[in-house]
């Protein structure tokens, strides 16, 4: 091959990649920009691959995605009033794709205040730095939510591990059947986590005078609180064990009779937040940070 021909070939590939067209055989990278009205919603539905959502600038939603098969496409649509944007991975002609072919990697930047809904089968979901409401669900993909303030955060997983961190003044509801749930510095008027067999870990101060409720069937619940935490705490297990290593003051009035080893209750500081820990036969432990 002559050098000039080779250089022209390379140049063409670079130009095509820059234009967002075919970059490598089998892989297609695309970029789309769509206007979203203030307080609009972005809905994303993807099977395998990954979905990363973060805050962007202006009023545009910027969607960058990579597909790995010509038998799969991404449908993007916007409602006429620009209140809603739909992004959906779609298999063409009911083709049977390999796991690698069915992957689509999304990177989505959304405007401030936009609400985001993401649903995946196996694709992990990462959401970071948003200021609107967030509704995430996955069958088995890991779900990570970071740095969100004053928003509703609803997360559902079947066998997904779920991690929430630095969420302030949130209305947080997490339901996980088998996956573990980790919360670090998560606070708000409502923090509710329920699992069937997944373990629940909470590290934070339960601040904000909110209602915190962690419930599991057979998973373990571990709560680590700083001495400054102001909580009214109750831990109860039907047939599991309950251990408390956090200094609590006895309450003057209780609604149930604590049973050593399977329940306890008490307050710390002014007891501004209500913390309710419940398990069926999983272990509950509360300790000091």
């Amino acid at each position: 091959m002559k050098r000039s021909t080779f250089a022209a070939g390379i140049g063409s590939i670079v130009a095509l990649a820059a234009a967002g067209a075919v970059a490598l055989p089998g892989d297609t990278r695309n970029e789309t920009r769509m206007e979203l009205a203030a307080d609009g919603t972005v809905n994303v539905n993807n099977g395998a691959g990954s979905v990363n959502v973060h805050s962007g600038t202006g009023r545009q939603v910027v969607v960058v995605y990579t597909t790995h098969s010509p038998n799969l496409e991404v449908d993007e649509s916007s409602s006429p009033d620009r209140q809603r944007i739909e992004i959906r991975t779609h298999v063409l002609h009911e083709q049977k794709l390999s796991p690698e072919e069915s992957r689509v990697e999304y990177d989505i930047a959304v405007p401030a205040g936009a609400s985001v809904t993401v649903s995946t089968a196996t694709a992990p979901i990462t959401v970071e730095g948003l200021s609107g409401d967030v509704d995430l669900s996955s069958n088995t993909g890991e779900i990570v939510v970071r740095n969100i303030a004053k928003a509703h955060v609803h997360v559902r997983g079947i066998a997904s591990s779920i991690s929430l961190s630095n969420i302030t003044r949130g209305h947080v509801e997490v339901t996980s059947t088998g996956g573990a749930v980790e919360l670090s510095s998560v606070s708000g008027p409502l923090v509710s986590v329920g699992t069937a067999s997944g373990n629940i870990t909470y590290k934070g101060d339960c601040s904000g005078g909110g209602e915190y409720r962690l419930t599991t069937h057979s998973g373990a619940i571990d709560v680590t609180l700083p001495p400054t935490a102001s909580v009214d705490l109750t831990a109860r297990s039907v047939s599991g064990t309950v251990v408390n290593d956090f200094p609590l003051q006895e309450k003057s009035h209780v609604t149930f009779v604590p049973k050593a080893g399977s329940s306890f209750t008490g307050t710390s500081n002014s007891g501004s937040s209500s913390v309710e820990l419940q398990s069926f036969n999983g272990r509950i432990r509360v300790k000091k940070q």
Partner: protein, 218 residues
């Protein structure tokens, strides 16, 4: 997981058809699995051995019918045999057929075989993909899925194998949750925790159904 793995039978699927395999032999796919899975091959070998030994427990020397008739007559004479039902023709029906009895040695062998069979089943650990297993999960996994749960599994049958597995395992887990919580409420209807647990358990199941429905819509 590759496409080949997706198409191949796994230990769990093999286990479900095990009785048919022991009785009638397996098809090509089942035989393939048997060749490549030492654990299942060992199990089948053990079960076939037990089946062979069990046949030996049948009485080897069945008495002649005349012996049973003689015994019957003797019992009647001694008034030790209760009268049977009267037939339409007014005859008293006799014992319909000689009942095969086992010798003490047969009982001992039966006990040995049953013990061996139990040990094989208890020690059989199919080579399934790793999952968050615990004693609770193991008991949950033994609960069969029925009715609507089977329909749900049919709905997610086109999903990736690990997703199907996730639904199946977690349905069982949630069913165990519901069963435990319901029993706790029945034991003590005033138990607030048990009542809330039952509510949570049903919410878990509702979520499973919702997610399966959403993900399988066209």
């Amino acid at each position: 997981m590759g496409e080949d793995e997706e198409n191949n039978m796994n230990c769990k699927e093999f286990q479900e058809v095990l009785p048919y395999i022991i009785e009638n032999g397996g098809n090509e796919e089942e035989e393939d699995h048997l060749r490549t899975c030492p654990a299942c091959a060992e199990l089948v070998q053990d079960l076939r051995y037990i089946a062979t030994q069990a046949k030996l427990l049948l009485p080897m020397h069945d008495p002649s019918p005349r012996v049973w008739t003689g015994i019957e007559q003797s019992l009647h004479q001694e008034s030790l045999l209760r009268e049977g039902r009267t037939s339409l023709w007014g005859h008293v029906t006799s014992i319909p057929a000689p009942v095969k009895s086992w010798t003490p040695a047969g009982w001992v062998m039966a006990a040995v075989v049953l013990t061996a069979f139990s040990l094989v089943l208890v020690n059989y650990h199919p080579q399934l993909p790793p999952s968050a297993s615990s004693a609770q999960n193991m008991s949950a996994q033994s609960i069969p899925l029925e009715g609507e749960d089977q329909q749900l599994m049919g709905r997610v049958s086109q999903q990736a194998p690990d997703v199907r597995r996730a639904y199946e395992d977690n349905l069982r887990e949630v069913n165990a949750y519901i069963t435990d919580a319901r029993q706790a409420v029945e034991r003590d209807p005033e138990d607030v925790v048990a009542r809330e647990q039952l509510q949570d358990a049903y919410q878990q199941k509702q979520m499973l159904y919702e997610m399966a429905t959403v993900r399988t819509l066209p």
